[in-house]
Symmetry: C2
């Protein structure tokens, strides 16, 4: 017997059948609908009628699945006619709908049977579940409501979720990761660290950033803008709305018009909230005549864009309606393209190096190019595309980027380099990007006078370093579990006198020295016990706690405890400064 069907996806799909069989055993009158394999396991959507399955049922289903598994030794299948299928599912409107759709597409209708359970199915199971599936490597995790086919106009069903892996060890590892992710959940940590809040009066997806959250945002923006200044980027400022004419010209209105927030005042003018900044930035470029001597022109701006995300899809800072972009656009000649892309790559490298997120194996770069199949979806000249893709690949090679060509991932307006980061839990996030654009400059009729006196169209490069600041914060809070690198910590040091009377003068002196040196230091006086103060500071993941008592006062030194357990003793404040700025 070959084992080519023994994939994890097939195991998961098989387990969905097994789940359905266990449910039917306890509740013979439920109506089964659909039960696919998913990323971490499987689920089955079931219409329980008037029954309300409970937590206890989940346990029973799982127990029964394990029991039945030993008798599931082989899948058989048979083709049935449409009439047979309709007869079979005459009292299940969901399966009936599926049967009719299969018939309409002119495909075969197949039933798969294992043990004494039969289901409408296209196949894709393990050959011998009893032997190939480890009963300890799966479990039912939870239930939730789900509309039939995801449409809220349809019947609400019960979705039962299971997680499944090849081995019990992998299952345990996954559960541990989930547990860790829960602890690191940025919504929970964000509140504990007092970084942001939401107000029901303001609305979901619209975070309000507290002083500490704003400080982190500003530190990120300042870091990126300072790095970029070296490469000649200049800040510009645009409003958050525009007449819709801007997007009619850019083409976004036709493509994304429905998804934009519309703005209406008392006049007839139709305004729109900007979902991106590039069209506005073209208008600053177009604001005066440009010569080849002025290029490259590099604009940067940290500003909010607005997207009409569905309420159900909003999630903490990961998915919001007000999106802060650290945006940037370069207008240059075709000859300058390569150097500008290189500069952007270097900005991204320098920024993520400061976060220690750029180590080997922690990231890769997608060289996102056209797919040959769908050549017609890309705008612009083939030879220009060839050139542009070649330039990006040259940069990727010369900068030693761990890159892969990914076909079909280019934007319709040009190819790009997308930086993909793996976080501490192994999850992958796209953050930085550099994208060539041959379409927008032409649409907006941007031009510069070249040294031969001719009017030419500049190339436009879109780039993001942190991407959306909200998503960046969500990712980094979870990646660092709230323990941000020293430079990014809202509070870097908490200074604690052992007792107020004897040590507050010295402790305040140390605090002042730190503040003067540009360290963000807080003071915790001794109205609370040292133990409690230390627990508070640790909960806030403050990088260093200074505990100052007689010993420190008499020797004019500090004793510092790092949040990673590191202990620094007999240091002067200057020594400490030298250590942390290194």
């Amino acid at each position: 017997m070959t084992n080519e069907n023994n994939t994890l996806a097939n195991k998961r799909h098989t387990l969905a059948h097994l789940l359905a069989a266990a449910v039917i055993k306890k509740y013979p009158d439920v109506k089964l609908t659909l039960g696919p394999a998913v990323d971490n396991g499987f689920y089955y959507d079931i219409d329980f009628g008037d029954t309300k399955p409970e937590e206890k049922d989940l346990k029973d289903f799982q127990k029964n699945m394990r029991k039945m598994l030993s008798s599931w030794k082989e899948f058989t299948h048979q083709e049935v006619s449409i009439d047979e299928a309709r007869e079979l599912y005459s009292d299940n409107q969901y399966k009936l709908e599926l049967v009719n759709e299969i018939a309409e597409r002119g495909e075969k209708i197949t039933l798969y049977t294992c043990g004494d359970f039969t289901d409408l199915c296209r196949g894709g199971h393990t050959d011998n579940p009893a032997e190939e599936i480890n009963g300890k490597a799966f479990e039912l995790s939870h239930m939730a409501g789900a509309y039939w086919r995801g449409d809220e106009k349809n019947q609400m069903l019960t979705r039962i979720y299971g997680i499944a892996f090849d081995t019990p060890e992998e299952l345990a590892e996954y559960k541990e990761m989930l547990e860790e992710a829960k602890k690191r959940d940025h919504r929970k940590l964000g509140q504990e660290l007092d970084l942001f809040t939401f107000s029901p009066l303001v609305g979901s997806g619209l975070p309000l950033f507290t002083p500490k959250g704003t400080l982190i945002r500003d530190l990120v923006i300042d870091k990126i803008q300072n790095i970029q200044k070296e490469y000649g980027y200049q800040k510009v400022t645009i409003p958050h709305i525009t007449k819709k004419d801007l997007y009619e010209k850019s083409g976004h209105w036709e493509k994304f018009g429905d998804e934009l927030f519309k703005v209406k005042g008392q006049s007839d003018t139709e305004f729109v909230m900007k979902p991106m900044n590039c069209p506005h930035h073209t208008q600053i470029f177009a604001g005066k005549p440009r010569s080849y001597k002025d290029l490259p022109i590099r604009f940067m701006e940290s500003t909010m864009v607005y997207r009409d995300e569905q309420a159900g899809e909003l999630l903490g800072l990961s998915r919001v309606r007000s999106i802060s972009q650290d945006d940037g656009h370069v207008f240059c000649t075709p000859e300058q393209m390569k150097q500008e892309i290189k500069n952007i790559v270097n900005v991204i490298k320098e920024f993520y190096t400061s976060l220690e997120m750029l180590e080997d194996g922690k990231y890769w770069v997608s060289l996102s190019v056209r797919s040959e199949e769908k050549a017609d979806k890309y705008l612009g000249d083939t030879s220009v595309w060839d050139k542009a893709e070649a330039v990006l690949e040259e940069v990727a090679k010369e900068e030693n980027l761990p890159y892969k060509r990914v076909e079909g991932e280019a934007a319709f307006y040009g190819p790009k380099l997308d930086f993909q980061f793996k976080d501490a839990l192994g999850r992958e996030w796209q953050l930085g990007t550099a994208q060539l654009d041959f379409v927008m400059p032409a649409r907006f009729e941007l031009e510069y006078t070249d040294n031969d006196g001719e009017k030419k169209t500049p190339v436009m490069i879109h780039r993001a370093v942190a991407g959306s600041l909200e998503r960046f914060m969500a990712v980094t809070i979870e990646h660092f579990a709230g323990a941000f690198p020293f430079w990014l910590s809202p509070v870097q040091v908490v200074v604690m006198p052992v007792n107020d009377e004897a040590h507050s003068e010295y402790a305040n002196d140390v605090l002042q020295q730190l503040t003067n040196a540009g360290i963000r230091a807080e003071y915790a006086d001794a109205t609370e016990s040292l133990g409690k103060r230390m627990r508070n500071a640790k909960k806030e993941k403050v990088p260093y706690i200074f505990v100052l008592g007689d010993k420190e006062k008499n020797s004019n030194t500090i004793t510092a405890e790092g949040r990673n357990g590191e202990k620094l003793e007999d240091l002067s404040v200057a020594d400490f400064m030298e250590k942390v700025t290194k």
Copy 2:
């Protein structure tokens, strides 16, 4: 004969009659409508029918006015019945409308005659125009279209404007001021200095700030925020939209709902663009429990608000739809109120001192308090108001502010201190403000736990230093005629080698020294003549031009020309730095 009627307003009103008489003389068939005195003179709105008056006509009217003036020695008036008036104006629908309105109000209908010209009028003229009005102290300035009664649904009339003063000298002075204002017009200078631009695709009232304009904005914001940091202000960040629920709670929806920009996505949720930041900031305060130990809490944020200004009222940066506020809100106990107001006054003082706009006679402060007549329009307890007004007055006294109590100028939610500045042309602008608010904290049910364990409502203080950055830029561009103080100049020094071959190395070295010292310096190489380069730099109002030739190179010094004509010689770069940072 008493001269109590010999006011400038009466002269101007008289001149409106004289203008009408001159027009009638040349075009007997026109229909007169309304002709009042205004701030700088007078105008008359006239229906010229099919005739189109031209520039030449203006000259004729003016000539005739002066000629007729000598015969205008006395005004007489008579009361007429409504029927007589209707008969008199039977072929002038405008006057007829006025007559009917006067009759409806039950007032007398009066006709005033001087020379051989009679007009429907309430009076208010000089007794003897020929003697009291100086024929050289007025002139007709221009014509423009104006709708009857300002309503665009009505007939378009021709408005003829005149300017008039007591003496020819005052007229000349005013015209000179106008000429100067024209030269300083921030829309013209803004373009010349490349500070901002508008795009017809984005829309009017929505400025796009170029790198130099953004730099000025950022310098202003940084300066204010740095001063404020000393007083414990912390930056926060809010989105630009909110559910309308926020403004229903604050009361703004009821008061200003029509004037807000409405935002609509695909869902039913009704969003609004924020026209102010205070309600959002209350929600950050409300985001976690607060103790008296946490107070005062001081939020600051530089952010754009949006107001649906009518297209016809938009003007450069003076009146825009996207308004950048350097906003700030303090939440404190009643006991802390006075010190917080003092701090705000000191921030405003320090900021405007850096602009040399706080000299004696250049500003005054309005202590804006309740009016006794309309006591019911103010919300909150009388005793609280008394206390608050007293606190503001104490601060004004202790800080030696040149203040005046202005009754009836308080906001409905509390009294305030408004800083009024006079610009170089003598025009007055309100920029900084500190406002006490007893209403909003209660509406949002904000609270803190006091040291007695009781829940109490904090006092809220609204404050602005620069006010709207757009209006601040419009005012300062015109006040300084583009020649910003050194710290606020986008480019502070232009370095020019006399010729490239001999001096570029030295000039670049100087440029580098300046840049390293934090000076914003640009380089102008010798591809253009020294004269042309200097003219360009002067047009851009750059504070200092360094011209570097043999003499400077050999002695390792600089020669600098200040934009005010000042000449600095034989200075080292260090000497220069010392001079300008002083």
